[in-house]
Symmetry: C2
Subunit: 318 residues, 2 copies
């Protein structure tokens, strides 16, 4: 197939899939589940009326519910796709309505805090398998999702010790069929890895965009005009969903502060090199950093096209 | 025309264009000058034998010279496209060979230090008009250039006080015909603006890639695998030419340290918000930063396509 997702499955993996929260991630799961026949029925719930209306309009599900508790009734796979800080509340709401033997999972970018928030609300008869698909764009909402979002991306499962291995295998099968590569990881290690590969990058992107906006010596209009010098790259991830990212930082505090400490320490050393005119030190660092990008491209996690292959300025003609 | 550069000029703007240094920028100027008929003859020089061989092979110029001094003989426009730290040496070498009435320009990313290095080596009969085309990719060398690199990008001219206005206008005409928008700016202000829109962004990108490479708790292979969470964006500009960027930091030290100071101050405040669990402060910053990207897209300096419109993972099939 031209979308690289392969043919739909001959029989659905789950009878009834419930997705709670229909943002970029939730709506992408709904789309790929539909396209690849991953579930017999797809039921979604979102607390926002606007989102529910879009979900109906876009035909994202068989049923669109107002109540998360109703949506999970009888579902054999439930995936929570709400901001990390809202996971505990949703778990509390749906806990009593989960079917015995169902798998409960999530798509949160933080695992330690989410496991703490959810675990205590899950009945013993339900298999809780936390997950994090490492994929996204800077857009949000049900219209932003697409079926190929997870293709060739990694989905990290972080089952706490003692989790039923069959449930883990079934969820892994779901994500593999959605196009992702599956990795199993310890929750604490996940939070450390993502702090450096995702959370701190977002933090410093938000930060430099904020710094640039607040300068008195350089106008905002100048920042915008001359952003092609490098700055514009940072504005992409600094345009990500504010609620989602606020919750990430509040819930992965320790790992983020640790990695941020390392970043700042290194930046101070780099600042000293500039102050001291240490050309060799600068050159050595700037040479070393090229190798990592080559690795990322070789692993299929990045395009090899220069400038991300982007085409700019064409929107305005001329 | 499909390349958005418009038709070639009916008559060349300059009789003889000399380009010293055939990297991404120099070779792109050669290409657009050829395609748009900006010069009657194009002469290039590069001190690297490999680069000269590629220049001949790619047909980038009418004449490929080993010596910069020979290349500028009789040229009515000379553009220096060497790293900022090499500008003074090249100016010294070519100074005595420049034609009376010629325009000498450059493409350096720093203007104050370059003006100091070049000015004193320019004969009084030559018009020196410093310039900086704010365009590029993470690639380097003569093969990386392309004729549309400057289309819809800004080229900043920073003529020191007393510069001949006709010379400024002729150079502006050249860059406009090459597809760029021209802005005139004071050199010191240029260096401040570029410090925040280009130099500090490169510095923190190099820095976080270095930090990630040096961690003991997270492996390099994990950084590569899970880089789609945001980190990979930074690796693009951290793959830029090490010599060029070493020279930028050594030659725009004051402005870079000033902007870096602001960045660090803001980052410390952000760090404190995380430590104190200040969700409102985080949310407010994350909301504010979205507007700047919208401005950049509206000004045609960035693509509106999500994720830069990049297509990843397709190289590896499936």
């Amino acid at each position: 197939m031209p979308d690289g997702l392969g043919a739909p499955l001959p029989a659905p993996l789950f009878q009834r899939l419930a997705i709670i929260g229909l943002g970029l991630i939730g709506s992408s799961i709904a789309r790929v589940a539909r396209r690849k026949n991953l579930a017999g029925r797809i039921v979604v719930a979102d607390r926002s009326e606007d989102v529910r209306r879009r979900a109906v309009k876009l035909g994202l599900a068989d049923t669109v519910e107002t109540s998360a508790a109703s949506a999970v009734e009888d579902a054999d796979l439930v995936i929570l796709c709400v901001p990390v800080g809202a996971m505990g509340g949703v778990a509390e709401e749906i806990g009593p309505h989960l079917k015995s033997g169902a798998i409960l999972s999530d798509a949160g970018s933080v695992k330690g805090a989410v496991i703490t928030a959810i675990s205590k609300r899950v009945p013993a008869s339900v298999y809780f398998v936390p997950a994090h698909p490492v994929a996204g764009t800077e857009e949000s909402g049900p219209d932003a999702g697409f079926a190929t979002l997870f293709r060739n991306r990694w989905c990290i499962l972080t089952p706490p010790e003692g989790t039923d291995q069959k449930a883990v295998a079934r969820l892994a099968e779901f994500w593999t069929a959605a196009g992702a590569n599956v990795e199993i990881m310890n929750p604490a290690h996940h939070d450390l890895v993502l702090a450096i590969t995702s959370h701190v990058p977002h933090l410093i992107a938000y930060n430099i965009v904020g710094t640039a906006a607040d300068l008195e010596t350089v106008t905002q209009s100048e920042v915008i005009k001359f952003s092609a010098g490098g700055f514009r790259d940072f504005t992409r991830i600094a345009a990500s969903d504010p609620t989602m990212w606020r919750d990430v930082f509040l819930n992965n505090r320790e790992a983020v502060l640790e990695m941020l400490g390392r970043f700042t320490e290194d930046l101070t050393a780099l600042q000293r090199m500039i102050r001291n005119g240490d050309g060799k030190g600068l050159f050595d660092l700037f040479t070393r950093t090229r190798a990592i990008r080559r690795g990322i491209i070789a692993e299929g996690q990045e395009t090899a096209a220069p400038d991300f292959g982007r085409r700019t300025g064409e929107e305005n003609g001329s």
